[in-house]
C-alpha cells in the first residue's frame, strides 16, 4: 500500500470533515470510520463521497459499494489506488 497516499488521504479527510483536533498520525489506518473510531455521521459520508469524486475522479454508484469503501482509511486508499482517474 502506498504510504504517501494514505498520509495524504488522512490530511484530506481531516480538512474535508473539519476534524480540527486531529493530525494524520492520530488516525488509525485500520480503525472504523463510522460508529466507533472517528465516529463520523451521514453528512460526513456525503463529504467523503464528494472528496473521492473531486480529488480522485471516482464516482460511487451504490450504497453497498460505499459501505465497503468507507470501512477505514485503508479500504478507501485501496479503492482509490485501483479506480482513480486523477
Amino acid at each position: 500500500m502506498d504510504e504517501n497516499l494514505i498520509f495524504n488521504l488522512k490530511k484530506e479527510v481531516i480538512e474535508a470533515l473539519n476534524l480540527e483536533d486531529y493530525k494524520p498520525e492520530d488516525i488509525d489506518t485500520d480503525a472504523a470510520l463510522f460508529g466507533t473510531g472517528l465516529g463520523l455521521d451521514s453528512i460526513d459520508a456525503l463529504e467523503l463521497i464528494v472528496l473521492l469524486e473531486r480529488n480522485y475522479g471516482i464516482k460511487i454508484k451504490t450504497q453497498e459499494e460505499s459501505k465497503a469503501i468507507f470501512q477505514s482509511i485503508r479500504t478507501m486508499a485501496e479503492y482509490i489506488q485501483q479506480h482513480r482517474s486523477k
Binding site: 470533515l17 473539519n18 480540527e20 483536533d21 453528512i43 460526513d44 463529504e47 473531486r54
Partner: protein, 205 residues
C-alpha cells in the same frame, strides 16, 4: 418570567451575568478560541457553521450551569428555545455560494446543511436534549421588546418552565450574541421586562 441568567458574546468579550469571562479577544479570534478557552468537549462543534457555533457557546454558558444533570443528558420537555437575528444564515449561505459558483462545482453537503438559521436552535436542542418547541425569527434589527414578547408567549405552553431566548447574529465575520435563560414565575414583582433586556444587550457593545 424571571431572568435566571444571561450571556453576551461579541468581538470584544464574553460576559455571563455581568461577569467578564473573556476580554481583549484578539482581533482575528475565532469562535474556536472561545470553545477552547471554555474547555468544552463536543467535537461536532468544529463541523458547525459560525452561527451555530456562536449559539452553541452561548447555550453552553447558560445551560451547563443551571442544569446539573448535563452529564446524564436527561431529556428535557420543559425548556423551549426562541431565538432571533438579523442576518439569518447569510454568512454560511455565502460560503455555500462559493462552493457552487464555477461550472464544475462540488457542493459541500456539510456546508449545505447549515443554510437555514434555525439549525442553530436544533444544534442546541440536540446537545442539551431539549424536547420543547424551538423557533427562530429573522428581524430587521435587535429588538428587546420582540424577544420579550416571543419569550412570554413560549410560556403559554403549560409544560414549559424555562425558555432559552435571545439574539444570535453572525454577519461579516462578527459575532453578536445575547442569550437569556428565563423561568416561569407567578410573582409579577420578579418579572424581567424588555427595558432590562435592552439595557443588558447595549451594556456590552
Amino acid at each position: 418570567m424571571i431572568l435566571l441568567s444571561y450571556c453576551r458574546i461579541n468581538d470584544k468579550c464574553v460576559v455571563k451575568d455581568g461577569k467578564i469571562i473573556i476580554s481583549d479577544l484578539p482581533i482575528t479570534h475565532s469562535l474556536s478560541h472561545i470553545y477552547r478557552y471554555l474547555q468544552l468537549d463536543y467535537p461536532k462543534f468544529f463541523k458547525m457553521d459560525n452561527l451555530s457555533k456562536l449559539g452553541f457557546l452561548g447555550a453552553e454558558l447558560l445551560l451547563n450551569a443551571h442544569f446539573q444533570d448535563i452529564e446524564n443528558r436527561q431529556q428535557k420537555r420543559n425548556i423551549s428555545i426562541v431565538c432571533c437575528n438579523r442576518a439569518a444564515s447569510l454568512d454560511n449561505d455565502r460560503r455555500y455560494q462559493e462552493t457552487i459558483k464555477t461550472s464544475e462545482f462540488f457542493p459541500s453537503p456539510a456546508v449545505f446543511v447549515y443554510t437555514l438559521p434555525n439549525i442553530v436552535t436544533g444544534e442546541i436542542a440536540i446537545r442539551h436534549k431539549i424536547m420543547g418547541e424551538t423557533s427562530f425569527f429573522v428581524l430587521p434589527k435587535f429588538s428587546a421588546a420582540t424577544i420579550w414578547e416571543l419569550s412570554q408567549s413560549a410560556f403559554d405552553d403549560s409544560e414549559i418552565d424555562y425558555v432559552l431566548s435571545g439574539w444570535i447574529n453572525f454577519e461579516f465575520g462578527k459575532s453578536d450574541l445575547f442569550l437569556t435563560l428565563l423561568q416561569r414565575s407567578q410573582n409579577p414583582n420578579t418579572n424581567v421586562n424588555e427595558t432590562i433586556l435592552d439595557q443588558l444587550y447595549t451594556k456590552y457593545q
